[in-house]
Structures are given as structure tokens and as C-alpha cells.
């Protein structure tokens, strides 16, 4: 039996417009419940929707970035179902004539690439939020719920892929690339934890090329959860099939705490959405010139930039992927390159130490206290052998924390590397004299001893001895 995992994703991203999709209420996150609502997004009798031009433009931009065709005439549809977070008990969405369709995006997984076809990108409105009141605060076992409609009506773009993904890892890589793409286009905050980026998955196992029954997985609230949930579900289905069982078509809920998926049992049955064209809105016919303008205004997209950085600067691919994951980070790198320092070195510093410090202090790259030219300065100091690589780490941290330039720090603290052969020679001699056992060990070939002795040299020179020089001298003396 040849089993193959087949995954398709359905992603919802909230667009970062100032006002809601069909009314002028602010989309700003948070605030007291129902403080950003009006008759339209509360579904008051007699209220009517008017579409947000920027939301439409943003959706078209995303569709173009995903290589989709823009539908010449698309319409809105009503998706009818009852739920307490729905102000009208129908959602204005798109159905068989969506804004765009037929695109694709390429992802890199390990040393392979995978082309993922995009079925469609369309626009719809978000629902309100239910706060469940009960012991656990979760929907199961709640006593009652409280409805907040601040989120109701925020524009959302829905991206649906063909079932072209073949592993949980591919799904994760795809989501990360999509997130980066949204970020590059500056149309969404895409924070999975805040709910502005959501993902549902359809997963099935095909046996010997025969497509399996697909199961829908919901409630994956981070990239990690997506990976874990799909990994679990893949295994569950494979074991089921291997043991002769059948996979039931159902919707399953990912339980992060338990690390499993359960079938979702609600009283909301019969998902007959009774779609019909929204009579309160008129069709959209995007002007081809406007679309062409948007297309030519597309920024360099994440994967293209990743490949260019590899090509242009000789970066290792994994580092380039890391840097181009966030546009601002890649921008930082390219500004640092302008200092003339070695791009690969710069990249390593950014992808390693700098990103770690940003993460630790929860600071976004655009607010990084160290400017790109400051990083260039640091790399120059290392390149000129004024400080060692190890010393540079400390200097970087100080520069980050104090805002002082690296050169200033090195000068003021006298941290410049000691290259004076004479000086080093005398320190080496001192250390050997003070540590006869270790010296003897090294004479006898124990490499461990070198490490210890070097440590002593660094201690005496406050880490400033040129490590290569000191090490050479040490070995020479003891051979």
C-alpha cells in the first residue's frame, strides 16, 4: 500500500483597512465590547452595506501576488446560517463568481520545490466574537456567552488552495510564505495569535493513488499548531486505514492541550447555506488599467527576494529564507550591505545574534536600536581584526542596549584586540608557567589542555588577545 498525504488549506486574513468592510466603524483592535459598532455592523433593521474600496484593492493586490486571474465581473453572495456572533445571520461573502481565481505559488521544502495552485481569493466580512462564560472559558461547558460585535464586519480575504500540499511541513512552509506575502504587501497584520490570520485544513490519505476521504481540521491557532495538528491527523488516518478502518468525512477540532483532534459536535447541523446573490450590493468590475497599475506596483515578493539575495550576495539559502521571511528584516540587511562589508557576514550577524536579541526584548526590526550602518561598523571591526568574533558579540549587545556605536564602545573601553606579538608571547609564557600540569598535558598531546590554557590567556588579556596568534604561540611553545 502506497499512502500519500493530501492537504488543502483555507486561509482567512483580516485586511488592515482603517474602516470596516461595509461601514465606517474603526477596525482598531481591542476596546470595550461593542464600542466600534453601528446600525450596519449590528444588523439593525433597515441598515445597508456599502463596500470599502481599499479592501477591494487590497484583495486584488493579493490575488495578483498569487498570480491569479482577476474576474472581470464578480458579485457578492449571502451565506445564510444562524450563529450568535452573526449580526444578520447571513455573511456577505462571495460564491461562484469570486474576485479572482486560478493562481499559484511556489514553496521550497528542503531541497525540493512544490507548486501550490490557488483555487480562489475572495472577499468577505468577519463575524463578531463570543466570550464564553463558564468554568473553563471554552465553548464546551459554558453557562452562557457574551457577544461583542467590534470585529463584525472587518474585511477578510479568503484564500483557498487546491489539495497540492503533501505533508504537514509543506503546509507550514506554505502558511509562512503566505504570511510573508501579506506582510510584504502591507495589507494585513497577519497575527495568528490575535486571530487576524486563520487557517483551516482539509487532509486525506490517498492509498495507491486513490483519493481518500477528506477531513476538515479547525482551531489551529499558530504555525506550530498547524504542523502538530496535521501530523497527528495524518498519523490517525494512516493507522486507521492500515488497520482496515474507514475515514469518516467530518470536521475535527484541534485540541492544543491534549495534542489531538476530536470530532466537532454541535447542534448547528445541515450546513445548507442557501447562497444567493446579495441584492443590496452591485457587481464589481475592476478597471483593467487599475489592475495593471496594481500589478506593476507589486513589491519584490518573498521568494523572489530570497533567491536574489542568494544569487546577488552569495548568502546560504537558509539564511536568505530567514531574512526574507519579514520584509523589514530583508530591508535592514540590504541597507547594511550598503556599508560595503561582507554581505554573508552581515547576514549571519542579523539572522543569528540580532534576531535573537530582538525576540528576547520583543522589539520589531523597524524599532531596532542598532542601525544597519552600526552593524556594518561592527563587522568592519571584526574584519580588520580589531576585535575577535567573540568580543564582537559582547560589543553588539552593548550597542543594542545602550544605543552607542560599536567603534565608540571599543575605543572607550579599550577593547581593541591585542595583536602585539611580543605582548602575547609574554602572556603565553606567564600562563604556561602558572599552569604546569596543563602545559604538560598539552605537551603530551591532550587537546583539551589547549582549550584550558587559551582560556587563561583570554582571562589575563580580558579576552582581547588575538586568539589565532595566541593559540599558535601556545602550541609552538609546547611542542
Amino acid at each position: 500500500m502506497e499512502y500519500e498525504t493530501v492537504i488543502g488549506l483555507e486561509i482567512h486574513a483580516e485586511l488592515a483597512t482603517m474602516s470596516k468592510m461595509f461601514c465606517g466603524c474603526s477596525t482598531y483592535f481591542g476596546g470595550e465590547p461593542n464600542s466600534r459598532t453601528c446600525p450596519v455592523c449590528l444588523g439593525h433593521p433597515g441598515s445597508l452595506p456599502v463596500a470599502n474600496a481599499k479592501a477591494i484593492a487590497d484583495s486584488i493586490l493579493l490575488a495578483l501576488a498569487l498570480d491569479c486571474d482577476i474576474t472581470p465581473r464578480s458579485i457578492f453572495h449571502r451565506k445564510n446560517y444562524f450563529y450568535p456572533d452573526m449580526p444578520k445571520n447571513f455573511q456577505i461573502s462571495q460564491y461562484d463568481v469570486p474576485l479572482s481565481s486560478g493562481g499559484q505559488i511556489v514553496i521550497d521544502v528542503g531541497d525540493r520545490t512544490r507548486t501550490v495552485r490557488i483555487t480562489r481569493v475572495h472577499l468577505e466580512e468577519d463575524t463578531g466574537k463570543s466570550i464564553h462564560v463558564g468554568e473553563s472559558g471554552r465553548i464546551h461547558g459554558a453557562e452562557h456567552s457574551l457577544e461583542d460585535f467590534n470585529r463584525a464586519g472587518i474585511p477578510m480575504v479568503e484564500v483557498v488552495t487546491e489539495p497540492d500540499l503533501r505533508s504537514p511541513e509543506e503546509a507550514r512552509v506554505f502558511m509562512q510564505l503566505l504570511r510573508s506575502t501579506l506582510e510584504y504587501l502591507e495589507i494585513s497584520d497577519c497575527k495568528m495569535e490575535e486571530g487576524s490570520l486563520r487557517c483551516d485544513a482539509n487532509i486525506s490519505i490517498s492509498a495507491d493513488g486513490v483519493l481518500g476521504t477528506k477531513v476538515e481540521i479547525k482551531n489551529m491557532n499558530s504555525f506550530r499548531a498547524l504542523f502538530r495538528a496535521l501530523t497527528y491527523e495524518e498519523e490517525r488516518q494512516r493507522f486507521l486505514l492500515r488497520d482496515g478502518g474507514t475515514v469518516i468525512q467530518e470536521t475535527r477540532h484541534w485540541d492544543e492541550g491534549a495534542g489531538k483532534t476530536h470530532p466537532l459536535r454541535t447542534k448547528e447541523e445541515a450546513f445548507d447555506y442557501r447562497y444567493f446573490p446579495e441584492p443590496d450590493l452591485v457587481p464589481l468590475e475592476p478597471d483593467p488599467r487599475f489592475v495593471a497599475e496594481l500589478k506593476s506596483g507589486l513589491p519584490e515578493l518573498p521568494r523572489a527576494r530570497m533567491m536574489r539575495l542568494v544569487e546577488q550576495y552569495g548568502l546560504p539559502e537558509d539564511i536568505s529564507v530567514m531574512l526574507t521571511g519579514e520584509k523589514a528584516l530583508a530591508d535592514y540587511f540590504e541597507r547594511a550591505v550598503e556599508t560595503g562589508q561582507d554581505p554573508v557576514e552581515l547576514a549571519k550577524w542579523i539572522a543569528g545574534d540580532l534576531v535573537a536579541m530582538l525576540k528576547e526584548s520583543v522589539v520589531p526590526i523597524r524599532h531596532c536600536p542598532l542601525e544597519p550602518r552600526g552593524l556594518g561598523e561592527l563587522v568592519a571591526l571584526v574584519a580588520q581584526n580589531i576585535i575577535s568574533g567573540k568580543m564582537a558579540k559582547d560589543v553588539l549587545r552593548e550597542a543594542y542596549e545602550t544605543g552607542k556605536g560599536p567603534k565608540e564602545i571599543v575605543d572607550s573601553k579599550g577593547l581593541a584586540q591585542i595583536d602585539d606579538a611580543g605582548r602575547i608571547e609574554s602572556v603565553v609564557a606567564e600562563v604556561i608557567a602558572e599552569n604546569p600540569e596543563a602545559a604538560e598535558d598539552l605537551r603530551n598531546g591532550k587537546e583539551q589542555a589547549l582549550k584550558f590554557l587559551m582560556g587563561q590567556v583570554m582571562k589575563k588579556t580580558r579576552g582581547q588577545a588575538n586568539p589565532e596568534m595566541a593559540s599558535e604561540m601556545m602550541k609552538k611553545s609546547l611542542r
Partner: protein, 485 residues
């Protein structure tokens, strides 16, 4: 000299000429309301306090010579389907009993800006579903011409109020004939504008692609005046037309010679009362007398209009009325509920009346999986055929004519046992809504003491032509009878 049967524009002139104070005008109308309301029940809620408060300020303004609007001080009744800020809006339903909107409908804003004073919210069939106003949760309205009979619906309250002298004019709404049919049954004038001419913002939706707000008054001229106040683009309504609004009053020249009128064959066949038909034909003769060429024309798709309407309208309504669920406003079932699904089911069962429930069920069924293509989609295609039939007709005719209603006012309870019988009352008015064209009903005579309505239809956005033909006919007919109440 009582002004309760004077037309609105005359009252407006009198106020401007200081022949009567705005307070006196109100007193006259509230006096009449107090006298006949117990028998007619045209209103659900009266806004007496608010009205007197409004005229206090108005008196001062007028004294100062300030511009208080073209119809300052003229009272008006507003169908309770239009949202009025700070004043209850019930749509004739228990579901919205006590509901107080937080905003004004655009049409309401505009009549306020014109200086009119609202007397109250007029009775109606629940959520505008009905042809007799017997479906109101608050009890039926009675026809001022015969209190045992219906005023028509769903704008029965508005029609009866104007007919009985309880308001000089009113706002109504029309989805399948709800302005025109009650206007016909109550002997007044009622106009449904081109779809999109008057903003639907604040009009509680029944069938979104068919609903329109329109004027109801004693004369064609009054209708023209009121239309001019409410018509015009509204950025809050995506289906609102941007075209320039002409001066409808200026267009009333009475010159109609040489125009061509088509008498719709499919609407003059079976099912029409003999008396109604003969008064309609007399009306057609009068058109000829005025130099209008009248000829029979066939619009075959009209035979399917009723069926298409009773699939499209309930389908849209089933979706529009889904918002009434006891979560954010309106009626909520007071019992203890196991869960929200029970709350929804019980709230909606108790909050809606039988006709509304019936249409919600019909509409939900027509849209449901497996039936969409056969019912809803097919009905929308019939609609295209109707639009095309009209399109062909407009190539040879300036207006089309028919009687407004197959019968005069029927007795209360006469048609309530079988929904289909009631639905047939709309047979002459429905095609107009499906095509989105404008149409007007005006009285053309009495049959056994009950008014008969004459319907004129025109191409989209040709209200001026429509009103002018009606204006000329109105003069020829010379309908001056008043209800016995």
C-alpha cells in the same frame, strides 16, 4: 373651514401665506385622528407630543422668516416600516414591539428637512407581507369607505389615514403593490418610484431587490411634491441611482396629446371584477379623449409574474428576517432556554405572525439545496423575460395602463383562510416591481360606493411623464368623492 381633506401643497401654501398657523394645522389633524381613529385604526403609534414640540420651534422660525423647508408645518403619516430615530418602529410585528431605532431612515431625514411634521407611524401588514393590513400584530386597519372592509396592504394604514383625513399625505413602501393597491382600495393616489430612485436606507427590508419607498396622497400633484423631497442619490444605499432628479412639479403640464398608451392584455383577462374592468375601460376612453393613442399590447411573461414573485420575494425575505433572533434587539422569548438554538426557535415562533412564518418557510425552501435552480434561479430568469417584455413595449408606447387591483375592497376575513387567494390581489401590480419600473395608482371612479384604482406604468426614471399622464387623467376623471366616515 376644515383642512383635513385639503391637499398637502395647499396646506403648505396656506401656512406660508400665514392663513393658518402650524399649531392650528396640527390641532385639526389630531382632532380628526381622535374622532375617527377608534374606528379606522390607521396608526400604530401617534407622535402627538413630538409633533407639538416640533411646531413650537417651527412657529418661531417662520416668524423670523427663516427657511424651514419647502413644506414646513405640513403633517405627514409614516408607514411603520421606516426607521425613525428615538420613536418606536414596529413593522406591525410583535418582534419589534417597543423597539426604538437609533437612526432615521434617509427618506425620514429628508421629509424632516423639508419641514414636515410626523403625526405618527402608520399601521401595516407585518413586515410588509400582505395585501389587506389584516396581518398586523396590532390589529387591522379598516377602510374609511366601509369599515367592514380592508384598506388593502401592506401600506393600509397610510392609505386609510390619507383617505379619512387623518393626514394630508403619507410615506408608504411597495414591494409587490403595497402602495398602489391600498391607494386604489382607499381612493387616493399612490406612486412606486423606479427601483433605486428613493434610498432604501432605513426601510426595513422585505425583498431587497423589489422594495421601494413612495408617496401616498390625495392628489397627483402632492405625490409629485413628496417624491421630489425623498428622491435622489444616497451614499448609504449601494443600490441608489445617481441620476439627476428633475422638478416633478414643473413637469405637471397636463399636456399629453400624442402620447401612446398600451393596455396590457394579460392584466385585463380573467379574474378581474366586471365593475372594476368597466371603470378601467372608461378611464382608457378618457385617455383617448385627451388625445392619447390607446392600443392593446400583449406582454406574455406577465402570466408568470405572480409565480416568480412568490418565489423571489419570500426567498429574499427569509434572509432579511433572519436578523430577528432576540440577540441584539427586539423580542426575546422570556422562558428559560436550554441553549441558544432553543432561544432562536422560540423567539422567532412567538415573535412572527403566521403570514411571515409562511413566507419565511416558503423562501427558505425555494433557496435550499436541490431546489435553488428549479425555483429561485428559474424565477430570476422569468424576471428577465418580464424586463424584456417591458423593453419591447417601451419601443411602441410611452406608458402602459391597467386597473390596479382585480377587485374593490374586500371584507375583513374574506381572504384570510387561503393564502393563495390573498396573493392573487397582487396580480396587476407585481410585474412592475419585478422590472423595477415606476407606476402610479389614482382613483377612476366608485363601484357600489367603493373606489377603483387606475394604474399607469412608465419606463425607468420617467416619473415626470408618468406623473403628467396621471395628472391629466385625474383632471378628466374629477374624482371628488369623500368617504362617509
Amino acid at each position: 373651514m376644515s383642512i383635513i381633506f385639503a391637499d398637502a401643497l395647499t396646506i403648505s401654501d396656506m401656512i406660508k401665506a400665514r392663513k393658518i398657523s402650524v399649531r392650528e394645522v396640527l390641532e385639526e389633524f389630531f382632532g380628526r385622528i381622535d374622532e375617527v381613529e377608534p374606528r379606522v385604526h390607521a396608526y400604530i403609534n401617534l407622535s402627538r407630543e413630538e409633533a407639538y414640540l416640533a411646531v413650537e420651534g417651527l412657529e418661531d422660525e417662520l416668524l423670523r422668516g427663516a427657511d424651514a423647508g419647502p413644506y414646513a408645518g405640513v403633517p405627514i403619516a409614516v408607514k411603520d416600516v421606516l426607521s425613525t430615530r428615538g420613536f418606536p418602529t414596529t413593522c406591525g410585528s410583535r418582534m419589534l414591539e417597543g423597539f426604538v431605532p437609533v437612526y432615521d431612515a434617509t427618506a425620514v431625514e429628508r421629509i424632516k428637512a423639508a419641514g414636515t411634521i410626523m403625526l405618527g407611524k402608520a399601521n401595516m401588514d407585518e413586515f410588509a407581507m400582505g395585501s389587506s393590513t389584516e396581518n398586523s400584530y396590532f390589529g387591522p386597519t379598516r377602510n374609511p369607505w366601509d369599515l367592514e372592509r380592508v384598506p388593502g396592504g401592506s401600506s393600509g394604514g397610510s392609505a386609510a389615514a390619507v383617505a379619512a383625513g387623518e393626514a394630508p399625505w403619507a410615506l408608504g413602501s411597495d414591494t409587490g403593490g403595497s402602495i398602489r393597491q391600498p391607494a386604489a382600495l382607499c381612493g387616493i393616489v399612490g406612486l412606486k418610484p423606479t427601483y433605486g430612485l428613493v434610498s432604501r436606507y432605513g426601510l426595513v427590508a422585505f425583498a431587497s431587490s423589489l422594495d421601494q419607498v413612495g408617496p401616498m396622497a390625495r392628489t397627483v400633484r402632492d405625490c409629485a411634491g413628496l417624491l421630489g423631497v425623498i428622491a435622489g442619490h444616497d451614499p448609504n444605499d449601494s443600490t441608489s441611482i445617481s441620476a439627476e432628479v428633475p422638478d416633478y412639479l414643473e413637469g405637471l403640464t397636463g399636456e399629453v396629446k400624442g402620447l401612446r398608451a398600451g393596455v396590457v392584455k394579460e392584466l385585463s383577462s380573467e379574474g378581474i371584477d366586471a365593475d372594476v374592468l368597466s371603470l378601467f375601460k372608461a378611464g382608457v376612453d378618457k385617455l383617448s379623449d385627451m388625445g392619447i393613442e390607446c392600443e392593446e399590447v400583449s406582454l406574455p411573461s406577465f402570466s408568470y409574474g405572480l409565480s416568480a414573485y412568490y418565489l423571489i420575494a419570500p426567498a429574499e425575505a427569509s434572509s432579511n428576517l433572519a436578523r430577528f433572533d432576540g440577540v441584539r434587539y427586539g423580542y426575546r422569548s422570556p422562558e428559560e432556554h436550554e441553549d441558544i438554538w432553543e432561544m432562536y426557535d422560540r423567539t422567532r415562533a412567538a415573535g412572527f405572525g403566521q403570514e411571515v412564518k409562511r413566507r419565511i418557510m416558503l423562501g427558505t425552501y425555494a433557496l435550499s439545496a436541490g431546489y435553488y435552480d428549479e425555483y429561485y434561479a428559474q424565477a430570476q430568469k422569468i424576471r428577465t423575460l418580464i424586463v424584456r417584455d417591458y423593453g419591447r413595449a417601451w419601443q411602441n408606447f410611452d406608458v402602459l395602463v391597467s386597473q390596479t387591483s382585480p377587485s374593490t375592497a374586500f371584507k375583513l376575513g374574506e381572504k384570510t383562510s387561503d393564502p393563495l387567494t390573498m396573493y392573487l390581489s397582487d396580480i396587476c401590480t407585481i410585474p412592475v416591481n419585478l422590472a423595477g419600473i415606476p407606476a402610479i395608482s389614482l382613483p377612476c371612479g366608485l363601484s357600489d360606493g367603493l373606489p377603483v384604482g387606475f394604474q399607469v406604468m412608465a419606463p425607468p426614471l420617467e416619473e415626470s411623464k408618468l406623473l403628467n399622464v396621471a395628472y391629466a387623467l385625474e383632471r378628466e376623471v374629477g374624482f371628488e368623492a369623500l368617504p362617509p366616515i
